[in-house]
Amino acid sequence: MNKNIFEKYPENLQSEYNASILILKNLFNEEEINEWNDEIKIITDSGVRSWEVTTDMLKVSVSLSELLKGIELIQWSKMINRLIVLSPVLAASYIKNSSDFLEITRGRHIDSMAILAEKIYDGSWKSGNFASKIFDHSPKFLKVLTFSEFEQIIYLLNDITKQSYDMAVECLDNSYNFLTKFNSKITGIELLTSLKNNSSRDLKNILENSPKHLIKFNENQRLELMNLVLSIIKHGGHSSTSIMDELSLPFNTINNRNYDKILELCKDLSRKQPSVISGFLSKIPEILNKIDIKKIDEWYDQGIELLEINPDAAIAYFKMESLTSENTLNKISSSVEYESIKELLQLYCSALAGTDIEILPSSDLVDKNIGWSSTMNPTTEGKSIFVPEIINRFDEKNTNYKWFKVISSHQVGRLEFGSFKFIFNEPSILFDDMRSKLYEDYLIKHKNADQIHFPLKDKEESNTSTKTDFNKFFDLFENRTLITDIFAIIEDTRVEHCIKSKYMGLSKDFDRVKAQALEKRPNINTLNSHDALVEFLVQISLGKNDSTRVPKKYIDQFKNIYALMKMIFDKPDSTVHDSAEISIRIYKMIFSMQNENMANEDTEELNLEQEQEQDYYEDDNVMQEILQFMMNQDSMDLHSDSEEYQSPAQVDYRGDFKPELVQLLENMRSMDSDNNEFSQENISPEMLKELLDQMENLDVDATERPIDSSTDMIAENILKEISSELSENSNHNPGETDNDSEEFEELQTDDPQSYVYDEWDFRSNDYKPRWCIVKERTMGEGDRQYYDDTLLDYSTLVSHLRRQFEMISPEMLKKERRLEDGEDFDIDDVIEAFVDIKTGVSPSEKLYWRRNKIQRDVACVFLLDVSASTAESIEDSTSNNDWDVPDDPVDYMKWVKSRRKSGIVRTYKRIIDVEKEASVLIMDALENLGDKYGIYCFSGYGRENVEFYTVKDLEESLTDNIKSRIDKISPLHATRMGPAIRHAISKLDKVQARTKLLFLISDGRPQDRGYSREGVEKEYAVHDTKMALTEAKNKDINAFCLTVDKNGHDYLKAMTQDMGYEVLDDVRDLPERLLDLYRNFTM
């Protein structure tokens, strides 16, 4: 081979060749070298820049020399030759990836790979790109697939290129990740094939999204999931672009142990009703929150049963959009939710505590960040009781409920039995009090210390005003954690014993809960001595009374502790002060010894039953000893090599006990209510912070902030909380007790009030829970003149109506004659009777009269439809027809707007004008009568926006402001009658009256965007309205529909059934007819 082959090409080509041939010549015989050289020459000469390809090729050939024989190398070069003719890029890509894929195939498929690309390539740039991608991806694919499988995939994707090369390339990129999620590649390819066949458009999305989702599943589950995807796609009618997300995301919140079960259900469902699968899956986390996976079948089967009877209902059922569904779930569910028993518990706790107790979820308290952090623990902050949001510890609903009762009883017990009513100087019942002596000692000691450092400042004095009694007490102890733990255990024990003796019925539940808690306690002997004694305390408090093994060394301490604890067991009327005194003594016992590891100590049997007889004994010596100990507790070098004390594991049902904090809050509350204004002088954030810093077991919010600033935060939050409580009290509005205290700042009086109502779905024969939002607003004020003008316009009618209404206005006292008994004789009747006697006729005995009081007791709501169609002129109201309401919201708004615009230039009278005039006349007439009445308008667009305007509220008295509101009534949007009626019902339900009336005045059938099921069925709206009217009837409200729609008979008949309705021939009769009807109804 001579040098001049490459002479017109750059030099490095020649040098590359020289380098490679040195190695390659060992592989080739003479003939082959020539062939090789020829091929290279052809390649190099095939295009302007082909020499670059040759350079690459020569480089790669060196590494290929280890894999291939000479003959194969030549075959390879021939392939390159074939490719470079098609596209140099393709050839370059082939060369680049050759060594990788050939290593995997061990030299096979040199040609088939190239031919594959050749087949794909159709001369376009895009196909070239795709084909070279094939080479790029081939190594990794071939690692897991056979070549024929790879080919299969390529041909599969090649089909997609007909739609888009880009898509095909992306699919190629993603399909590897997809395939690797399946052990059996054949299944993977099959899936891929069927996905492609069913929805090649979505293939890309699915391939792109699936790897990240599939990762959480195991092989089988992946397959199931993909089959689900397939069946949903096959079923069609589903926007499948996000289908992978829809199906897989719910699984993120499901325990993976349950995947199989859920997938099984979905599989089953996919055979029956694939369209609901994604809806169903999205609700699974919610469902599993309420019921155990074992019980899901029960709920599911109900749905399947329903599917056979009524598919529409079943769809709603599986999507949890029906009440039946929720109810079934609740029935099956063994868990008890805070929401469902809140009211009941609130009553129960308020009864027990004797004050208004609010029951709130623990998370509320945590959100306030005022020192509590556990969302699962029950606790109290002195005013409310906080409980976990859901209890599902047990399989039985009742047991779960009992647990709720026990935890709330325990918390109420703290309030009822005065856990927080600790007053430092109050004497205890059982003991000679040591607290005050200890405090004197403490003062002396600290005064001395202070005087050394700050001789002039008496620190104690400055602090006493904000210090709580608990602070003062706990300050006496060196190890604050230890004393607060001991005190909490003792106090909880005391409370429980008080509960037990006062509430016999609870003691069984308490005993069970205690026994369960006891089972979970650790073994005493594995703990350090301090921890062990405290743990022992916990266990006794949980009712341990059999024999137990304890370290021999400390058996006396154990016995003494038991004897002390026993004192509360025997004395049901002990107080928190006894707990405090016991705590001092136990603290001394524990703290006076080393906290050492006792794992290797000898143990001895301690039989608690025998110890029953042993009483705690205390004389002056013992007391002196304790006082002495307390005086010197810090100076002792006893604890120099001690282990740190560890608090015992919490007893879950008792929850958090933070006496210092509660007392602090209570002090602040009372301080503030005295001043009636929150003043920072009383307690500054700094002082508060200082107090908080001292407190043990303060849960700071688990953020990364340094501890110091956390207490700052808490201090700030506490101040905020107290001042908001206070302002809540002073602004207390009896009507609006449902305002949450935290949202207090955001809620303004002019904020729209929203209410949520169910809606009746006649297809599934069930309510859709919380479906519509009714936004109640007060109608704005317009010109008052309108009211007066209307009265003037109708002056003849007005005076006529007034006369009529005066006639029905009852005389308060009416003389009733001819009674058997009464106030007095009626002289006429007596004379008649005497005449009868004289003439020998038997006289009537009804000789008396009495005054009877007749009271009118009527409450009436007028509900005016102010939908857009009321802008129609009354002249052509016959042609009034809004069947052409566009369903699309955008179109709809346009349609509404265009309708409204046409109303601006009117000179004719509209339906709404008649409605307005009627309102004026109603007001005028009913005001004379003295009946309670309300006038409301409703309209809306969509179920989230049912507008409900108050013109005059039932309880409002007629003022000028109200009169001027009438002017503002104007046509708005659509007519969603159901929720408006329901809201009116709820208003009527709140007032007391013997007769309740509801007048519905409309101009057409109910309709709204989405006020029909899946599109166009008009009956949906009619049925919902009918149901709402039935609800009214069930509440003893007489409903009456009045319409000006001449075509009203057909649907009104269905809508109102046996209730009354009337179609007005002439709209102008509306005011008069309305009042006529009213008169007839209430007479």
Binding site: L347, Y348, S350, L352, T355, K405, S409, R850
Partner: protein
Amino acid sequence: MSDTTKSLYKSYIIEEYFAKEKPYYVPVGDEIELFEAAYKQKIPILFKGPTGCGKTRFVEYMAYKLGQEMELTGEKNPDESKPNIPLVTIACHEDLTASDLVGRYLLEGDSTVWMDGPLTRAVKAGGICYLDEVVEARKDTTVIIHPLTDHRRILPVEKKGELIEAAEGFLLVLSYNPGYQSALKDLKHSTRQRFVAIEFDYPSVEKEAEIIAHESELDLDMAFRLATLGEKIRNLKDHGLPEGASTRLLIYAAKMITQGVKPIRACQISVNWAITDDPILHQGIQEVISSIFAE
């Protein structure tokens, strides 16, 4: 009246009905002394207090007690069958008219005869006239008691054109339950200001337990639990309960228990259902009951 009817029932002339034995009453505060003082000074008395807390029992007790004392001082002749001073109780209702109180003419044969009303009888007999739940009566009715309640102590009988001067021992006692305080059911101020008011409330748990135990012969521990229940239920007064459980109801429950009804059930039927129809409230109270009493 024929002898046969007489043997079937006992009927008394209204002012001659007397207690057979001393009524049982446990004082809650100083009401006995106050009543005695007012009686001696002839000042009419108004009882305020919730239903079933012992207002009626108290007036019976005082009638007996005063009677006994007067026998001792010789103001009244000792009489075994008439141990107390006359007590006329009138339950007021919406339709109670003035003539219902004072009296009316009745037809008898060809003529009319005058029939004294209960108030007139009490005035004549010099007893205590107790108008129970006086707010229920119509305002125009209550006005006729006015002349009786001031220094005049007379009862005008319009129809006969008479004035009856009240006998020495006469005293008017009204009871009224502020629980129903609404604009409609309130005493006129001109009426109210003629009385001294003694306020009643439910007794303390201990006292109530004692009362329950005495009235029902239930053991004291159980009575104590019932009294506790009463206390707890009264705590719910602002939670939709119009009236707390009265002592009377608790006694009913106690009596049911002595007859062998299970305590929880007894409380449910005699207390819980009696005070509320609201299902949530009922359930809440039932929880309290089941906490207090073991099954």
